[in-house]
Amino acid sequence: MEYFAWCVMAAAVGMGLGSFGTGIGQGIAISKAVEGVARNPGASGKIMTVMLVGLAMIESLAIYCLVVAMIILFANPFTDTVVQMLSK
């Protein structure tokens, strides 16, 4: 049973760490974009598009964490083995 508790723990901590780094990265990207728009408001349209694409790329890192967390929680490949070992 402890195994599954640790699985939940791993998913939570992994997701937290993943979104921590992603948050810092997106913050830096947005701050630079705001700076760029403040200096040159005329280029705001282009900066917006590039920023959104960049944010989506950075966000995909957090999404990978989410996918791994969901694999750990819902589609854990070792569940059957652990259940078999427990039933012995």
Partner: protein, 224 residues
């Protein structure tokens, strides 16, 4: 959101079929797109009206973007990229209608599209450069090739994986978040998240399209 009641699931249950939600809804999206395309195609005019008026700026925008990112050679790949873009956009957006399941929130649909793009990049590369295409994998200097080839192969294999997982994670993650909020506070609170869902749908379509264009453009250009 993964609604508790999905129309086609119910229909499948009534007909004793086992197809899967993502496939039935893929058919729905395909039917929708083909129907709209046929309706527009039936009476094309020089001065657009109605549906044609609505679709022309979108097609124009995609065409301009392809020319900007891929150069004049990229126009040949307009059908592939525009089809993928329309399909992803419509599939993402039907998630917001109650009783509908977005096909893009399933790994198989996304993997199919990502593998199409992946195969297309290499077919285009071989068609464009012949055997010389493999210079792309060897890096800038000849004696670095043994080092560069494994890196490039891993990099190329990571492309379909990241394309698949990005779209899947965004759509599925969004659905899970909405579902959790819906069970906690069903009144008005999930609304801002649904607005964000519209934004996510558009941005993910844009990103998938842009990456497909960049990958194909990468194999179009000469080896450095």
């Amino acid at each position: 959101m993964i609604h508790p009641f999905i129309f086609f699931e119910w229909l499948e249950h009534q007909l004793h079929l086992h197809i899967g939600n993502h496939i039935t809804y893929t058919w729905l999206v395909m039917a929708l797109l083909i129907l709209v395309a046929l309706l527009v195609k039936r009476n094309i005019k020089t001065v657009p009206t109605g549906l044609q008026n609505f679709l022309e700026p979108i097609i124009d925008g995609i065409e301009n973007m392809i020319e900007e990112t891929m150069g004049p050679k990229g126009k040949a790949y307009f059908p592939l990229i525009a089809t993928i873009a329309f399909f992803i956009l419509v599939s993402n957006l039907i998630a917001l209608i109650p009783g509908f399941f977005p096909p893009t929130a399933n790994l198989n649909t996304n993997a199919a599209m990502a593998l199409t793009v992946f195969a297309m990049t290499h077919i285009v590369g071989v068609k464009e450069h012949g055997i010389g295409y493999f210079k792309h994998f060897c890096g800038p200097i000849g004696w670095l090739a043994p080092l560069m080839v494994p890196i490039e192969i891993v990099g190329h294999l990571a492309r379909p994986l990241s394309l698949t997982l990005r779209l899947f994670g965004n759509m599925y993650g969004h659905e899970i978040v909405l579902m959790i909020f819906f069970t906690l506070v069903p009144f008005l609170v999930p609304l801002p998240l649904m607005v964000m869902g519209v934004l996510v749908a558009f941005i993910q379509t844009f990103v998938f399209m842009l990456l497909a264009m960049i990958y194909i453009a990468g194999s179009l250009e000469e080896a450095h």
